[in-house]
């Protein structure tokens, strides 16, 4: 990205660094540094990231409650059950909906707000901080706060409805609307992060091009649409990438809000894994869900980078 140009971009320095690295072969103490510096990270990473992922693939072919050794081989049955499970399909749809809302509502909203807080007005920085604040709060706390907001008896929504003399709804208990309520919280919680990415992107937009457009008599909208937006291309692609990856991990916020209910209407892939794999100690089944999630993450990340981010 344009605002992150560094020493590496200067050819002279880069070659001299390479020169040193070639020479450094002969610096004494290559072996001690490798033996001391690499193993801690390598060990922890292998034991707690790579092996569990491999084991998940292995366990997923067994019916196992986690005690003793997995012996009851059931082939691909766990996977068949997953894809026939209504709650899992709901979770898939919900994750898709989160991605759609992130791309169609959250990112345009974040971009619009970013253009506002990069104007030269008093308090612009204060507004940025305020908008970023929800992103810093823990998902659990944000979920809990919004559970109160949506509460039909004591919450803010109840207060608004009562003020108009109407009976307050219990949105989170209504399976038709609960997930839309959750989506609202997701936008509230995460738009600030995307806004910050856009603020940084906008600071990298060349002012002289905008001034040139000004002289040519371009309107504000034309300047945004013809000059700013094309220059923000890489930021938009990055922002979408994070929205997609983030949506696949969503768990912490759902638990205090709805716990996946009512009747599984607000499950995401990870809450599904938790309620059906962890809570019931179905290690084989839960591992299979993990593998499906893993495959979705890797396929999405790879193909997205291949297709949209190859030039970034």
């Amino acid at each position: 990205m344009s605002q992150t140009s560094t020493i590496d971009d200067v050819p002279v320095r880069a070659t001299s660094a390479r020169h040193v690295r070639r020479k450094s072969n002969r610096v004494r103490g290559t072996l001690p540094v490798l033996v001391l510096f690499l193993p801690p990270a390598l060990l922890v990473f292998t034991v707690f990231v790579i092996l569990p992922m491999g084991e998940a693939a292995w366990y997923s072919f067994y019916n196992w409650n986690g005690y003793g050794l997995p012996t009851e081989w059931i082939g691909t049955k766990n996977y068949e059950i997953i894809f026939r499970n209504g709650a899992f399909r709901q979770a898939l749809i919900n994750n898709g909906l989160i991605i759609a809302v992130s791309i169609l509502i959250q990112i345009p909203l974040a971009l619009w707000i970013a253009t506002m807080v990069t104007h030269r007005i008093k308090g612009a920085v204060a507004f940025r901080l305020l908008f970023f604040l929800p992103y810093v709060l823990a998902d659990v706390a944000a979920g809990m706060i919004w559970r109160f907001v949506y509460d039909g008896q004591f919450g803010l929504v109840a207060g608004i409805f009562n003020a108009f003399g109407m009976n307050a709804p219990f949105w989170l208990a209504d399976k038709q609307v609960a997930f839309y309520a959750v989506l609202g919280v997701i936008v509230w919680k995460y738009f600030g992060f995307h806004m910050m990415l856009f603020v940084a992107g906008l600071q990298g937009v060349d002012k002289s091009v905008l001034e040139a457009a000004d002289i040519d008599g371009a309107t504000g909208w034309q300047k945004f649409y013809r000059v700013t937006l094309p220059m923000l291309g890489s930021t938009v692609r990055l922002s979408v990438f994070f929205a997609v990856i983030g949506s696949l991990q969503l768990f912490d916020m759902i638990m205090p809000l709805t716990g996946g209910g009512p009747s599984n209407s607000t499950q995401t892939l990870v809450t599904f894994l938790y309620s059906f794999g962890v809570m019931r100690m179905q290690v084989g089944f839960g591992s299979a869900v993990g593998v499906v999630l893993f495959v979705i993450c890797v396929v999405l990340a790879f193909s997205y980078k291949r297709i949209f981010m190859k030039n970034d």
Binding site: T6, V33, L130, A138
Partner: protein, 290 residues
Amino acid sequence: MTDSAAPIDAATAPSGRAERLPTRVYLYVSLTILAAIIVIPLLTTALGGFKTLGELRGNPFGLPSQWQWSNYGDILFSQRYWLQMGNSLLIAGLTVFLTLAFSAMAAFTFAHVKFFGSGFLLNYFLIGLMFPAATAILPLFIRIRDLGLLDTYWGVVLPQVAFGLGMSILLFRNFFRNLPSELFDAAFVDGAGYIRFFWRITLPLSRPIIATVGIISFVGSWNSYILPLIMLNSESKYPWPLGIMVYRGEFSTDWQLILAFITLTILPTVIVFFAAQKHIIAGLTAGAVK
């Protein structure tokens, strides 16, 4: 994406010419409405903690007619609040320390030591960036159980460190590679080995990136929920996100107490955020522009 880790400086005031009046009105009106949407839930949470349950029902928005300081006082004088804060701080502290130590050392070898398989090993660590800890949570649970670490702080800390390594190594390596190469020439001519070089020269120059990685890993650990939820059993070891859920379970409809509890648990985050906003914003968005 370039290979550098220059932080986003989004907390500095924009420059350029001042705006005309209609533009200013449009900006302030829209921004104020948006700010209200952010602030009102937070403010009513904090104020709700000062009300009685009855008043909460009739008047969720306004100031409390009688400030119930005891809601907050009881929590502040209870052991559980401080215990949970302490647990969170301990877990986050250990996570940050180990993440910094392990990833800085590994990244140093990737940046400066030429050895067979270095590119392969770096990519091996970067696999960790591609999937969330939740995907392997059950085998992870079994592993922690078999290691006898269930219901210990280490059972939470070690997986957190492991899943943070990919990003941290990447950030550190990019920073180390961009340090001026003249330093190496000088140090190696003087006969310093890699390890002395790391301690004496690289680390003292790396304060910005240490801050960035430290912030990412601290915030992640402080807010994390799923790993402690699965690895810890005894309430005396719970960090605050778990504690808040237990508290809610206990006082299910006493919303005024729950609101006071939420407020007190997010208060440290809010204070630290406003005190160190520049560093925190730069840190939390650094992973995005790596």
